[in-house]
């Protein structure tokens, strides 16, 4: 059971990334290693945001953080400004993380204090963030720190330094989920909130920590991204849909309770390479988005058991618990009929 659910799902993102990589090789005469190196320098930003989004989605149905995009944009401006003012890169990055935390605090207060549905709460917090971004962007003159930009572009032996750092961060998240009470509590809340509550899990605290982590990670991504590219009000825009998409394609259950951090790497590389491929073929952004949206739907369809006949069956049997005798006809015939 654990083997089946844990070992399988993250493979597909990597497989898809490899497939796209082969296609790129076939079409262009660019070096294969160079393509991978480039993808590895772009993917970490998406992975950072994706890790936060994954934690939120794992908290169970209805949990999503739509404030990541505005946080990235705002944190970009704040980090560049603070770095320029104080002259210290770490302080700038911390300011970016702090920005994310501050926006997440608004979401958490709305979700837990006012019982606002998470999608609305984070949307509202995001709107506050984006209005701040617009007022900051007006007449913004500070430029990103050159040293940080060079560090982010550093690729010893073709492997970007940032990719290694984010890989370590991913390992940290894996350990967090497996080894800490917070991680286990989050997975329990995601499987069944009433059951977790009755089992003595501090549900409100777990939810709060989760949204704060997502905000902080989005802030970190914004601070780094602004140094890598340049601060702009649109800096985070594409990261909202992409962060949800990489989480889902990576194998994390959209209904919560199961998180697959490693899978985010596979699907993030897949997305970055897909962008490259589509650019190579000459498609425009609209076509790219169409393709991505279709992919997410396809993965959700596969995750739902791939049955057209009884589409609600798998999600239901996962969400609502029943005794062993209880899997719905549509799924159980598929799994057990050969016994």
């Amino acid at each position: 059971m654990t083997l089946r659910t844990l070992a399988r799902p993250w493979i597909w993102g990597f497989a898809a990334a490899a497939l796209v990589w082969v296609l790129i090789l076939a079409i262009s005469n660019q070096g294969g290693g160079q393509t991978v190196s480039l993808a590895l320098s772009l993917a970490p930003y998406l992975v950072i945001v994706g890790l936060g989004q994954m934690l939120v989605i794992t908290a169970g149905p209805g949990n999503i953080d739509v404030s990541v995009a505005p946080i990235i944009s705002l944190a970009g401006f704040v980090a560049v400004q603070v770095t320029a003012t104080t002259g210290s890169v770490p302080v700038g990055i911390l300011a970016g993380i702090g920005t994310g935390l501050a926006v997440a605090v608004v979401s958490v207060v709305a979700i837990l204090g006012l019982s606002v549905p998470p999608i609305i709460a984070t949307l509202a917090a995001g709107l506050i963030a984006s209005s701040l971004t617009l007022s900051l962007a007006d007449g913004f003159t500070a430029v990103p720190d050159d040293g940080l930009r060079r560090l982010l572009n550093l690729r010893p032996a073709g492997v970007p330094v940032l990719a290694v750092a984010v890989a370590a961060l991913t390992a940290l998240v894996v350990a967090l989920l497996r080894r800490t009470t917070y991680g286990r509590s989050l997975l329990a809340v995601g499987q069944s909130r009433p059951a977790a509550e009755r089992a003595g899990v501090p549900v409100a605290r777990v939810i709060a920590i989760t949204y704060l982590a997502s905000g902080a990670l989005a802030g970190l991504a914004g601070a780094l991204l602004a140094a890598y590219i340049a601060p702009s009000p649109d800096l985070g825009t594409r990261y909202l849909l992409d962060s949800v998409a990489v989480v889902v394609i990576g194998g994390t259950l959209i209904s919560g309770g199961r998180a697959v951090p490693v899978g985010i790497w596979g699907s993030a590389l897949f997305f970055i390479l897909l962008d490259g491929l589509v650019n190579l073929v000459g498609w425009n952004t609209a076509a790219q988005n169409l393709l991505k949206g279709g992919l997410v739907l396809f993965v959700l369809f596969l995750a739902g058991g791939g049955t057209l006949r009884n589409p609600g069956a798998t999600t239901r049997s996962r969400r609502r618990l029943r005794p062993a005798a209880a899997t719905t006809a549509g799924t159980s015939t598929g799994e057990n009929s050969n016994g």
Binding site: T181, A188, Q191, S192, A325, A326
Partner: protein, 511 residues
């Protein structure tokens, strides 16, 4: 036991001799039916006939395969091998409930199948839409459900417009049974533990209706752990053990002890451990409610001493769960709880089981917090605790089995173990032994007494008055008030029932 006073044998006398075929044709026939889930063999070759116009009682321990057999007979699942014949038609492998021959087979579930967010009438539409008009279905469904509720449960107090989540557990069960019975053509009605959450009156009127149904030629399959109840209602009794029907007997002339003997090797009568009648004053107080009022409670005062098992008795839905809720989350001034708490929910499907996890992970989730250091788990200590509890409660399937692969009784064991594996000073039991077999119950009663002797306090709400004999002290609640406090030898089923029902007319008017 609710329906002791049901007249036995008021129905047609069952056919003499258990191997003689009944003159009535079988409605549903199962032949050599097997079913396997993962590593659990739920059915190992079942032969069963249900004949028109009879009540067939089905008994067996938890995990004997009753629920699985029911699901196969209702067309919810296909069997691995063997055949199921419904109304003379052999069911195909590719089954779906409510299709083909299974349309005339209806089942009322123990864990009700109703959608909590919909109204009663809308739920009727969900399961019986093929018998309702396309336009004006709401009115048709409302009228049908109201009429059937009046017929089955005269004191139901349910309106078709009520939302399911606003109903009490007993009312939900009534709606569930009515939902199952409302269909144009009903050949077999399966009732899975129908009286577990019903009061004695409702149970009596249900069985009166069951007899009327069978008089019209409908077959009724009754599953219950209340053996005396089954014997008083059923014409024949089928006993299941280890995934097979091991005996089929006419109910007449069969005693409770005979059935218990057929169900398992050793007959264990749940005997009350003589509770040491110590006065509450001798113990240090762990939790108190001082005149708690509001949210369905009126001036409730309760004290719980260290190492004491305190019972909350009375009819279902009289405020017992609200008392547990107060103790679980002591946010109000009138409640003080010293020490940590653990909760054993009664509704294990909704608030007990964590479905994606194994038995071990489900079991340790509460204790994990106490074992961890600085928020980091100590898996070694966790493994020891899990192994200890899996052995201690003999949880079938072992620590690594998926939680959803277990039978209901074993799932309940895991959830009870979850609470007791923690270091909680006060354990709250919310009627957790509904639908659990006698053996498991006896094990768990012993466990509760052992843990109490070790200094843990237990507050135990039960709808089964006989269970209260295991308590040191019992508060009987009625309409949100404590109407009696019984200690030691005073605790008896008769006494609790007497106190629960006194002045019930006036409380009925209050609600």
């Amino acid at each position: 036991m609710h329906v002791d006073n049901l007249p036995v044998g008021s129905h047609a006398a069952p056919p003499q001799g258990d191997r003689t075929p009944s003159p009535a044709p079988p409605v549903v026939t199962a032949r050599r039916v097997t079913r396997t889930y993962g590593r659990t063999r739920a059915l190992t070759g079942v032969d069963l006939d249900v004949r028109a116009g009879e009540v067939l009682g089905l008994v067996g321990h938890n995990g004997a395969g009753k629920s699985t057999l029911m699901r196969v007979l209702a067309g919810l699942e296909a069997c691995d091998e063997g055949t199921v014949t419904v109304g003379g038609q052999e069911a195909s492998r590719d089954v779906a409930p409510g299709t083909g021959p299974f349309r005339a087979v209806r089942m009322a579930y123990q864990e009700t199948s109703l959608c909590p967010d919909l109204t009663v009438a809308e739920n009727i539409w969900v399961s019986s839409r093929h018998c309702l008009p396309r336009l004006g279905w709401r009115r048709a469904a409302s009228r049908a459900v109201a009429r059937r509720l009046d017929e089955m449960f005269p004191s139901h107090r349910v309106a078709p417009r009520d939302r399911i989540e606003d109903l009490s557990l007993a009312q939900r069960q009534m709606v569930e049974i009515v939902r199952a019975s409302l269909v144009d053509r009903l050949e077999l009605l399966i009732l899975d533990e129908p009286t577990e959450s019903l009061g004695p009156d409702a149970a009596r009127s249900l069985y009166a209706y069951v007899r009327r149904l069978t008089a019209q030629g409908t077959a009724v399959l009754l599953i219950s752990h209340r053996i005396r109840e089954v014997l008083s209602v059923a014409d024949r009794v089928a006993v299941m053990r280890d995934g097979a029907v091991v005996a089929e007997r006419p109910a007449a002339g069969l005693g409770e002890q005979d059935v218990l003997a057929l169900m398992g090797a050793e007959v264990v009568e749940p005997t009350a451990t003589p509770a040491p009648a110590r006065a509450a004053g001798e113990r240090p107080v762990v939790a108190t409610l001082r005149g708690a009022t509001g949210h369905g409670l009126h001036d409730v005062s309760i004290t719980v001493g260290r190492g004491e098992v305190v019972g909350l008795a009375g009819l279902a839905g009289q405020g017992q769960q609200q008392v547990l809720e107060r103790l679980w989350r002591p946010v109000r001034r009138d409640t003080t709880v010293a020490g940590t708490r653990a909760y054993v929910p009664g509704d294990r499907q909704r608030s007990g089981v964590l479905p994606l996890w194994s038995v071990a992970e489900n079991l340790i989730v509460t204790a994990m917090r106490g074992l961890a250091r600085y928020g980091v788990r100590r898996t070694g200590a966790e493994d020891v605790a899990v192994r200890d509890w899996v052995d201690r409660l003999a949880i079938r399937g072992g620590a690594d089995a998926g939680m959803t692969e277990l039978s209901g009784g074993n799932q309940q064991k895991v959830i009870v173990a979850r609470a007791f594996a923690s270091t909680a000073d006060l354990v709250l039991l919310d009627d957790p032994f509904r639908g659990v077999d006698v053996h498991t119950k006896t094990d768990l009663y012993t466990l509760i007494r052992q843990e109490a002797a070790g200094g843990r306090s237990v507050v135990w709400y039960s709808s089964e008055n006989a269970e209260m004999a295991h308590c040191d002290r019992v508060y009987v609640l009625r309409a949100g008030r404590v109407v009696a406090e019984l200690t030691g030898a005073e605790i008896s089923e008769e006494r609790i029932i007497a106190v629960s029902f006194a002045e019930s007319e006036s409380t009925g008017a209050q609600r």
